[in-house]
Protein backbone atom coordinates (compact mmCIF):
# COMPACT_ATOMS: atom_id res chain seq x y z
CA UNK A 1 0.00 0.00 0.00
CA UNK A 2 1.37 3.41 -0.94
CA UNK A 3 1.22 6.22 1.60
CA UNK A 4 1.22 9.98 0.99
CA UNK A 5 0.79 13.23 2.86
CA UNK A 6 -2.39 14.77 1.40
CA UNK A 7 -1.77 18.40 0.45
CA UNK A 8 -5.19 20.03 0.21
CA UNK A 9 -4.14 23.61 -0.52
CA UNK A 10 -6.47 26.55 0.14
CA UNK A 11 -9.33 26.29 -2.35
CA UNK A 12 -10.26 22.60 -2.51
CA UNK A 13 -11.13 22.10 1.18
CA UNK A 14 -13.07 25.37 1.42
CA UNK A 15 -14.74 25.93 -1.94
CA UNK A 16 -14.63 22.63 -3.83
CA UNK A 17 -14.86 19.91 -1.15
CA UNK A 18 -16.42 17.51 -3.67
CA UNK A 19 -12.95 17.24 -5.25
CA UNK A 20 -11.45 16.27 -1.90
CA UNK A 21 -14.30 13.86 -1.16
CA UNK A 22 -13.98 12.05 -4.49
CA UNK A 23 -10.16 12.00 -4.25
CA UNK A 24 -10.27 10.41 -0.81
CA UNK A 25 -12.80 7.85 -2.03
CA UNK A 26 -10.77 6.91 -5.11
CA UNK A 27 -7.50 6.68 -3.14
CA UNK A 28 -9.15 4.47 -0.53
CA UNK A 29 -10.53 2.25 -3.29
CA UNK A 30 -7.03 1.68 -4.70
CA UNK A 31 -5.34 1.31 -1.31
CA UNK A 32 -3.54 4.65 -1.43
CA UNK A 33 -3.22 5.73 2.19
CA UNK A 34 -3.62 9.50 2.66
CA UNK A 35 -2.22 11.12 5.78
CA UNK A 36 -3.58 14.54 6.83
CA UNK A 37 -0.98 16.98 8.13
CA UNK A 38 -2.83 19.68 10.05
CA UNK A 39 0.03 22.15 9.86
CA UNK A 40 0.11 22.29 6.05
CA UNK A 41 -0.71 25.81 4.90
CA UNK A 42 -0.82 27.76 1.65
CA UNK A 43 1.81 26.58 -0.89
CA UNK A 44 2.96 30.17 -1.50
CA UNK A 45 2.27 30.36 -5.24
CA UNK A 46 0.52 33.72 -5.07
CA UNK A 47 2.94 35.21 -2.57
CA UNK A 48 5.73 35.14 -5.15
CA UNK A 49 3.92 38.12 -6.65
CA UNK A 50 5.03 40.22 -3.70
CA UNK A 51 8.12 38.29 -2.63
CA UNK A 52 9.77 35.36 -4.40
CA UNK A 53 11.55 34.60 -1.12
CA UNK A 54 8.30 34.44 0.87
CA UNK A 55 6.75 32.09 -1.67
CA UNK A 56 9.81 29.83 -1.57
CA UNK A 57 9.84 29.77 2.24
CA UNK A 58 6.15 28.88 2.37
CA UNK A 59 6.62 26.02 -0.09
CA UNK A 60 9.74 24.84 1.75
CA UNK A 61 7.98 24.82 5.12
CA UNK A 62 5.26 22.57 3.69
CA UNK A 63 7.85 20.28 2.11
CA UNK A 64 9.70 20.09 5.45
CA UNK A 65 6.49 19.14 7.28
CA UNK A 66 5.99 16.14 4.97
CA UNK A 67 9.65 15.17 5.21
CA UNK A 68 9.39 15.21 8.97
CA UNK A 69 6.76 12.45 8.66
CA UNK A 70 8.89 10.66 6.02
CA UNK A 71 6.13 11.01 3.47
CA UNK A 72 5.96 12.12 -0.15
CA UNK A 73 3.22 14.61 -1.00
CA UNK A 74 0.06 13.93 -3.02
CA UNK A 75 -1.56 17.12 -4.30
CA UNK A 76 -5.01 17.83 -5.70
CA UNK A 77 -4.46 21.38 -6.97
CA UNK A 78 -2.37 21.75 -10.13
CA UNK A 79 -1.00 25.10 -8.92
CA UNK A 80 0.16 23.71 -5.56
CA UNK A 81 1.82 20.87 -7.48
CA UNK A 82 3.72 23.34 -9.64
CA UNK A 83 4.65 25.64 -6.75
CA UNK A 84 5.97 22.82 -4.58
CA UNK A 85 7.78 21.09 -7.44
CA UNK A 86 9.37 24.38 -8.53
CA UNK A 87 10.51 24.99 -4.95
CA UNK A 88 12.19 21.56 -4.93
CA UNK A 89 14.04 22.59 -8.11
CA UNK A 90 15.20 25.85 -6.57
CA UNK A 91 16.23 24.20 -3.31
CA UNK A 92 18.66 21.94 -5.17
CA UNK A 93 20.97 24.97 -5.09
CA UNK A 94 22.91 24.62 -1.83
CA UNK A 95 23.25 28.32 -0.93
CA UNK A 96 19.50 28.72 -1.49
CA UNK A 97 18.74 25.66 0.62
CA UNK A 98 21.03 26.86 3.43
CA UNK A 99 19.46 30.32 3.39
CA UNK A 100 15.94 28.85 3.52
CA UNK A 101 16.84 26.41 6.29
CA UNK A 102 18.22 29.23 8.40
CA UNK A 103 14.70 30.71 8.43
CA UNK A 104 12.95 27.34 8.80
CA UNK A 105 15.03 26.48 11.85
CA UNK A 106 13.41 29.40 13.66
CA UNK A 107 10.17 27.41 13.57
CA UNK A 108 11.85 24.04 14.19
CA UNK A 109 11.69 22.86 10.60
CA UNK A 110 14.36 21.69 8.20
CA UNK A 111 14.19 20.94 4.51
CA UNK A 112 16.51 18.06 3.69
CA UNK A 113 15.66 17.45 0.04
CA UNK A 114 14.19 13.96 0.03
CA UNK A 115 10.47 14.66 -0.47
CA UNK A 116 8.73 14.20 -3.83
CA UNK A 117 5.53 15.92 -4.94
CA UNK A 118 3.05 14.32 -7.30
CA UNK A 119 -0.47 15.25 -8.36
CA UNK A 120 -3.23 12.69 -7.70
CA UNK A 121 -3.64 12.03 -11.44
CA UNK A 122 0.07 11.28 -11.75
CA UNK A 123 -0.09 8.96 -8.75
CA UNK A 124 -3.05 7.14 -10.28
CA UNK A 125 -1.21 6.95 -13.62
CA UNK A 126 2.11 5.79 -12.21
CA UNK A 127 1.26 3.82 -9.05
CA UNK A 128 -2.02 2.22 -10.14
CA UNK A 129 -1.77 2.39 -13.93
CA UNK A 130 -4.26 2.62 -16.77
CA UNK A 131 -4.57 -1.18 -17.17
CA UNK A 132 -5.46 -1.78 -13.52
CA UNK A 133 -8.02 1.05 -13.63
CA UNK A 134 -9.61 -0.49 -16.75
CA UNK A 135 -9.95 -3.84 -14.97
CA UNK A 136 -11.72 -2.23 -12.01
CA UNK A 137 -14.40 -0.39 -14.04
CA UNK A 138 -17.91 -1.48 -13.02
CA UNK A 139 -20.17 0.97 -14.81
CA UNK A 140 -20.52 1.62 -18.54
CA UNK A 141 -19.34 5.14 -19.31
CA UNK A 142 -18.99 4.56 -23.06
CA UNK A 143 -21.88 6.94 -23.77
CA UNK A 144 -19.85 9.89 -22.48
CA UNK A 145 -17.84 12.25 -24.66
CA UNK A 146 -15.39 14.11 -22.44
CA UNK A 147 -13.22 17.17 -23.06
CA UNK A 148 -10.00 16.90 -21.01
CA UNK A 149 -8.42 20.00 -19.47
CA UNK A 150 -5.02 19.46 -17.85
CA UNK A 151 -4.32 22.67 -15.92
CA UNK A 152 -1.10 24.58 -16.66
CA UNK A 153 0.77 23.81 -13.46
CA UNK A 154 0.19 20.07 -13.85
CA UNK A 155 2.39 20.27 -16.96
CA UNK A 156 4.69 23.26 -16.65
CA UNK A 157 7.47 24.06 -16.15
CA UNK A 158 8.48 20.70 -17.60
CA UNK A 159 11.82 20.81 -15.75
CA UNK A 160 10.01 20.55 -12.40
CA UNK A 161 8.32 17.26 -13.37
CA UNK A 162 11.25 15.13 -14.54
CA UNK A 163 9.88 15.22 -18.09
CA UNK A 164 6.73 13.38 -16.97
CA UNK A 165 4.63 15.05 -19.68
CA UNK A 166 5.12 16.88 -22.97
CA UNK A 167 3.38 20.17 -22.09
CA UNK A 168 2.23 20.88 -25.65
CA UNK A 169 1.18 17.29 -26.29
CA UNK A 170 0.19 15.73 -22.97
CA UNK A 171 -1.31 12.27 -22.67
CA UNK A 172 -1.99 11.21 -19.09
CA UNK A 173 -5.44 12.72 -18.58
CA UNK A 174 -6.56 11.53 -22.03
CA UNK A 175 -5.53 8.00 -21.04
CA UNK A 176 -6.99 8.22 -17.55
CA UNK A 177 -10.34 9.30 -19.05
CA UNK A 178 -10.26 6.50 -21.64
CA UNK A 179 -9.47 4.02 -18.85
CA UNK A 180 -12.90 4.73 -17.33
CA UNK A 181 -14.56 3.74 -20.61
CA UNK A 182 -15.57 7.32 -21.48
CA UNK A 183 -14.37 8.89 -24.74
CA UNK A 184 -11.67 11.52 -24.51
CA UNK A 185 -12.35 14.09 -27.24
CA UNK A 186 -9.75 16.27 -28.96
CA UNK A 187 -10.53 19.96 -29.26
CA UNK A 188 -8.50 22.93 -30.39
CA UNK A 189 -8.28 24.91 -27.14
CA UNK A 190 -7.62 21.94 -24.84
CA UNK A 191 -4.38 23.48 -23.59
CA UNK A 192 -5.80 26.97 -23.03
CA UNK A 193 -5.19 28.37 -19.55
CA UNK A 194 -8.25 28.95 -17.32
CA UNK A 195 -6.83 32.27 -16.13
CA UNK A 196 -7.45 31.41 -12.48
CA UNK A 197 -4.23 33.00 -11.26
CA UNK A 198 -5.21 36.38 -12.67
CA UNK A 199 -8.78 36.23 -11.36
CA UNK A 200 -8.10 38.30 -8.20
CA UNK A 201 -6.71 41.09 -10.41
CA UNK A 202 -8.99 40.90 -13.46
CA UNK A 203 -12.23 38.96 -13.78
CA UNK A 204 -12.62 40.27 -17.33
CA UNK A 205 -9.49 38.48 -18.52
CA UNK A 206 -10.74 35.21 -17.03
CA UNK A 207 -14.15 35.64 -18.63
CA UNK A 208 -12.53 36.13 -22.04
CA UNK A 209 -10.42 32.98 -21.65
CA UNK A 210 -13.26 30.85 -20.28
CA UNK A 211 -15.61 31.85 -23.10
CA UNK A 212 -13.02 30.93 -25.70
CA UNK A 213 -12.88 27.38 -24.40
CA UNK A 214 -16.60 26.98 -23.80
CA UNK A 215 -17.35 28.28 -27.32
CA UNK A 216 -14.85 25.83 -28.77
CA UNK A 217 -16.43 22.91 -26.93
CA UNK A 218 -20.00 23.90 -27.81
CA UNK A 219 -21.26 22.08 -30.87
CA UNK A 220 -18.85 19.19 -30.52
CA UNK A 221 -21.45 17.05 -28.75
CA UNK A 222 -19.34 16.93 -25.63
CA UNK A 223 -21.07 15.87 -22.41
CA UNK A 224 -18.67 17.34 -19.87
CA UNK A 225 -15.29 18.83 -19.31
CA UNK A 226 -13.01 16.85 -17.00
CA UNK A 227 -10.38 18.70 -15.02
CA UNK A 228 -7.79 18.01 -12.37
CA UNK A 229 -7.58 21.30 -10.51
CA UNK A 230 -10.18 23.05 -8.36
CA UNK A 231 -9.19 26.53 -9.55
CA UNK A 232 -9.77 25.52 -13.17
CA UNK A 233 -13.06 24.04 -11.93
CA UNK A 234 -14.17 27.29 -10.33
CA UNK A 235 -13.30 29.25 -13.47
CA UNK A 236 -15.10 26.93 -15.91
CA UNK A 237 -18.00 26.00 -13.67
CA UNK A 238 -18.89 28.79 -11.25
CA UNK A 239 -17.93 31.58 -13.63
CA UNK A 240 -20.45 30.33 -16.21
CA UNK A 241 -23.24 31.93 -14.23
CA UNK A 242 -21.32 35.19 -13.88
CA UNK A 243 -20.58 35.24 -17.61
CA UNK A 244 -24.23 34.53 -18.39
CA UNK A 245 -25.26 37.50 -16.24
CA UNK A 246 -22.63 39.93 -17.51
CA UNK A 247 -22.55 39.01 -21.18
CA UNK A 248 -26.10 37.74 -21.71
CA UNK A 249 -24.89 34.23 -22.53
CA UNK A 250 -26.56 30.91 -21.76
CA UNK A 251 -23.72 28.59 -20.84
CA UNK A 252 -24.85 25.55 -18.88
CA UNK A 253 -22.03 23.09 -19.39
CA UNK A 254 -21.21 20.30 -16.90
CA UNK A 255 -17.70 20.41 -15.45
CA UNK A 256 -16.37 17.56 -13.31
CA UNK A 257 -13.11 16.61 -11.65
CA UNK A 258 -11.24 13.49 -12.71
CA UNK A 259 -11.60 11.54 -9.44
CA UNK A 260 -15.36 12.08 -9.74
CA UNK A 261 -15.41 10.55 -13.24
CA UNK A 262 -13.28 7.65 -12.04
CA UNK A 263 -15.53 7.25 -9.00
CA UNK A 264 -18.58 6.99 -11.28
CA UNK A 265 -16.88 4.22 -13.26
CA UNK A 266 -16.10 2.40 -10.01
CA UNK A 267 -19.76 2.59 -8.93
CA UNK A 268 -19.27 5.11 -6.12
CA UNK A 269 -22.38 6.89 -4.87
CA UNK A 270 -22.59 10.13 -6.91
CA UNK A 271 -23.87 12.19 -3.98
CA UNK A 272 -22.44 10.57 -0.84
CA UNK A 273 -19.01 9.60 -2.21
CA UNK A 274 -18.43 12.08 -5.04
CA UNK A 275 -20.33 15.19 -3.91
CA UNK A 276 -22.18 15.79 -7.18
CA UNK A 277 -24.89 17.73 -5.37
CA UNK A 278 -22.39 20.51 -4.70
CA UNK A 279 -21.94 21.40 -8.35
CA UNK A 280 -23.14 24.82 -9.44
CA UNK A 281 -23.81 23.59 -12.97
CA UNK A 282 -25.97 20.46 -12.93
CA UNK A 283 -24.30 17.21 -13.96
CA UNK A 284 -27.60 15.31 -14.37
CA UNK A 285 -27.12 15.03 -18.14
CA UNK A 286 -23.84 13.19 -17.45
CA UNK A 287 -25.29 10.88 -14.80
CA UNK A 288 -28.23 9.96 -17.06
CA UNK A 289 -25.85 8.52 -19.66
CA UNK A 290 -24.21 6.07 -17.27
CA UNK A 291 -25.53 2.54 -17.25
Amino acid sequence: MSRYALFLGCTTPTKVPQYELASRWVCKYFGIDLVDIEEFGCCGINQVNLSIEAGLLMAASNLALAEDKRLDILTLCAACTGALAEAIEKLKDKPTKDRVNEKLREVNLEYKGSVKVRHISRVLYEDIGVEKIKKEVKKDLSGLRIAPHYGCHYLKPKSAFEGFEEPDNPKTLHQLISATGAHSIEYETFNLCCGGKVFPVSRDLVHSLVQKKLDDIAGKEIDAMVLQCQTCYLMYSDQQEEINKEYGKQYNFPVILYPQLLGLALDADPVKDLGFKLHTVSVDTVLEKIV
Binding site: N46, L50, P200
Partner: protein, 179 residues
Protein backbone atom coordinates in the same frame (compact mmCIF):
# COMPACT_ATOMS: atom_id res chain seq x y z
CA UNK B 1 -11.51 46.70 -19.17
CA UNK B 2 -11.64 49.88 -21.27
CA UNK B 3 -11.63 51.96 -18.12
CA UNK B 4 -8.47 50.22 -16.95
CA UNK B 5 -6.87 50.79 -20.34
CA UNK B 6 -7.66 54.50 -20.27
CA UNK B 7 -6.43 55.19 -16.75
CA UNK B 8 -3.27 53.22 -16.90
CA UNK B 9 -2.14 53.17 -20.51
CA UNK B 10 1.59 52.90 -21.05
CA UNK B 11 2.74 56.06 -22.80
CA UNK B 12 3.68 55.48 -26.42
CA UNK B 13 6.50 58.03 -26.57
CA UNK B 14 9.27 58.08 -24.00
CA UNK B 15 11.83 60.78 -23.41
CA UNK B 16 15.42 59.56 -23.01
CA UNK B 17 15.63 61.50 -19.76
CA UNK B 18 13.10 59.05 -18.34
CA UNK B 19 15.32 56.05 -19.01
CA UNK B 20 17.34 54.60 -16.14
CA UNK B 21 20.40 52.76 -17.46
CA UNK B 22 20.79 50.96 -14.14
CA UNK B 23 17.37 49.36 -14.23
CA UNK B 24 18.41 46.33 -16.28
CA UNK B 25 21.44 45.72 -14.01
CA UNK B 26 19.21 46.03 -10.97
CA UNK B 27 16.80 43.42 -12.36
CA UNK B 28 19.66 41.13 -13.35
CA UNK B 29 21.10 41.07 -9.82
CA UNK B 30 18.24 38.71 -8.95
CA UNK B 31 19.15 35.12 -9.91
CA UNK B 32 15.59 34.56 -11.20
CA UNK B 33 16.06 37.24 -13.86
CA UNK B 34 19.07 35.52 -15.43
CA UNK B 35 18.47 35.07 -19.11
CA UNK B 36 17.14 38.53 -19.82
CA UNK B 37 20.46 39.29 -21.51
CA UNK B 38 20.06 36.56 -24.10
CA UNK B 39 16.53 37.54 -25.16
CA UNK B 40 16.60 38.59 -28.83
CA UNK B 41 12.97 39.74 -28.97
CA UNK B 42 11.72 36.97 -31.27
CA UNK B 43 8.26 37.29 -29.74
CA UNK B 44 7.66 33.57 -29.14
CA UNK B 45 6.62 34.49 -25.59
CA UNK B 46 3.92 36.87 -26.75
CA UNK B 47 2.78 34.56 -29.55
CA UNK B 48 2.03 31.75 -27.09
CA UNK B 49 0.61 33.93 -24.33
CA UNK B 50 -3.12 33.37 -23.73
CA UNK B 51 -3.51 36.74 -22.02
CA UNK B 52 -1.81 38.58 -24.89
CA UNK B 53 -4.27 36.93 -27.25
CA UNK B 54 -7.34 38.32 -25.47
CA UNK B 55 -5.71 41.53 -24.23
CA UNK B 56 -2.88 42.59 -26.59
CA UNK B 57 -1.71 45.38 -24.26
CA UNK B 58 -0.21 42.67 -22.04
CA UNK B 59 2.87 41.88 -24.07
CA UNK B 60 5.79 39.87 -22.59
CA UNK B 61 8.13 40.71 -25.48
CA UNK B 62 7.43 44.42 -25.06
CA UNK B 63 7.90 44.28 -21.28
CA UNK B 64 11.27 42.50 -21.65
CA UNK B 65 12.35 45.18 -24.10
CA UNK B 66 11.21 47.97 -21.80
CA UNK B 67 13.37 46.52 -19.02
CA UNK B 68 16.39 46.36 -21.32
CA UNK B 69 15.81 49.97 -22.36
CA UNK B 70 15.73 51.07 -18.71
CA UNK B 71 12.07 52.12 -18.59
CA UNK B 72 11.88 51.55 -14.86
CA UNK B 73 9.01 53.87 -14.05
CA UNK B 74 6.84 52.69 -16.93
CA UNK B 75 7.44 49.02 -16.14
CA UNK B 76 7.02 49.11 -12.37
CA UNK B 77 3.94 51.34 -12.48
CA UNK B 78 2.32 49.37 -15.27
CA UNK B 79 -0.80 47.44 -14.25
CA UNK B 80 -0.01 44.96 -17.02
CA UNK B 81 2.86 43.29 -15.16
CA UNK B 82 0.16 41.88 -12.85
CA UNK B 83 -1.84 40.35 -15.72
CA UNK B 84 0.23 37.20 -16.18
CA UNK B 85 -1.91 34.05 -15.73
CA UNK B 86 1.25 32.05 -14.80
CA UNK B 87 0.61 29.44 -17.52
CA UNK B 88 4.39 29.14 -18.20
CA UNK B 89 3.91 28.93 -22.00
CA UNK B 90 6.45 31.74 -22.49
CA UNK B 91 9.32 29.97 -20.76
CA UNK B 92 8.30 26.56 -22.08
CA UNK B 93 8.55 27.72 -25.66
CA UNK B 94 11.37 30.30 -25.49
CA UNK B 95 14.17 29.29 -27.92
CA UNK B 96 16.67 31.08 -25.66
CA UNK B 97 15.42 29.38 -22.51
CA UNK B 98 14.57 32.74 -20.95
CA UNK B 99 12.24 32.26 -18.00
CA UNK B 100 10.03 35.29 -18.51
CA UNK B 101 7.64 34.13 -15.78
CA UNK B 102 10.50 34.41 -13.27
CA UNK B 103 11.68 37.76 -14.65
CA UNK B 104 8.14 39.06 -14.28
CA UNK B 105 8.07 37.96 -10.65
CA UNK B 106 11.28 39.93 -10.04
CA UNK B 107 9.61 42.98 -11.60
CA UNK B 108 6.46 42.47 -9.53
CA UNK B 109 8.53 42.21 -6.33
CA UNK B 110 10.27 45.49 -7.20
CA UNK B 111 6.96 47.16 -8.03
CA UNK B 112 5.44 45.90 -4.76
CA UNK B 113 8.30 47.45 -2.78
CA UNK B 114 7.61 50.77 -4.47
CA UNK B 115 3.92 50.60 -3.56
CA UNK B 116 2.38 49.43 -6.84
CA UNK B 117 1.05 46.00 -5.84
CA UNK B 118 -2.66 45.43 -6.49
CA UNK B 119 -4.75 45.35 -3.30
CA UNK B 120 -5.90 41.81 -4.17
CA UNK B 121 -2.43 40.34 -3.60
CA UNK B 122 -1.66 42.46 -0.55
CA UNK B 123 -4.96 41.47 1.08
CA UNK B 124 -4.40 37.82 0.24
CA UNK B 125 -1.00 37.77 1.91
CA UNK B 126 -2.43 39.37 5.03
CA UNK B 127 -5.15 36.70 4.98
CA UNK B 128 -2.61 33.86 4.82
CA UNK B 129 -0.95 35.27 7.93
CA UNK B 130 -4.28 35.02 9.76
CA UNK B 131 -5.61 31.63 8.64
CA UNK B 132 -2.71 29.93 6.86
CA UNK B 133 -4.76 29.87 3.64
CA UNK B 134 -5.86 32.56 1.23
CA UNK B 135 -9.43 32.68 2.56
CA UNK B 136 -10.96 33.74 5.86
CA UNK B 137 -12.64 31.04 7.93
CA UNK B 138 -16.31 30.76 6.95
CA UNK B 139 -19.01 28.96 8.88
CA UNK B 140 -20.61 27.75 5.64
CA UNK B 141 -17.63 25.64 4.57
CA UNK B 142 -16.98 24.37 8.10
CA UNK B 143 -20.57 23.10 8.13
CA UNK B 144 -20.27 21.63 4.66
CA UNK B 145 -17.12 19.74 5.67
CA UNK B 146 -18.88 18.36 8.74
CA UNK B 147 -21.82 17.17 6.62
CA UNK B 148 -19.41 15.41 4.26
CA UNK B 149 -17.49 13.89 7.22
CA UNK B 150 -14.28 15.58 6.07
CA UNK B 151 -11.66 16.37 8.74
CA UNK B 152 -11.78 19.82 10.28
CA UNK B 153 -9.15 22.34 9.23
CA UNK B 154 -6.70 24.09 11.51
CA UNK B 155 -7.63 27.76 11.66
CA UNK B 156 -4.26 29.15 12.75
CA UNK B 157 -0.78 28.51 11.39
CA UNK B 158 1.73 30.19 13.70
CA UNK B 159 4.78 28.72 11.92
CA UNK B 160 3.66 29.93 8.53
CA UNK B 161 2.78 33.31 10.03
CA UNK B 162 6.25 33.69 11.50
CA UNK B 163 7.93 32.65 8.26
CA UNK B 164 5.92 35.11 6.17
CA UNK B 165 6.46 37.95 8.62
CA UNK B 166 10.22 37.33 8.55
CA UNK B 167 10.18 38.49 4.90
CA UNK B 168 8.29 41.69 5.77
CA UNK B 169 5.79 41.22 2.93
CA UNK B 170 3.03 41.92 5.40
CA UNK B 171 4.30 45.52 5.44
CA UNK B 172 3.72 46.03 1.72
CA UNK B 173 1.08 48.65 0.96
CA UNK B 174 -1.30 48.35 -2.01
CA UNK B 175 -1.22 50.76 -4.92
CA UNK B 176 -3.47 53.76 -4.60
CA UNK B 177 -5.18 53.21 -7.95
CA UNK B 178 -5.61 49.49 -7.28
CA UNK B 179 -7.79 47.67 -9.76
Amino acid sequence: MNKVKKILEIKQSVSSSELGPDFKSEVLTHPDARGLNVCFSCGTCSAGCPIHEVFPEYNPKKLAKMVRLGMKKQVLRSPYIWYCATCHNCEQRCPQNVKFFNILNVLKNMAAKEGYAPAAWVDQTRQVIKTGIVFPTEKSWIKKREELSLPSLKEEHPKLKRIIESTCIDKIKPRADSV
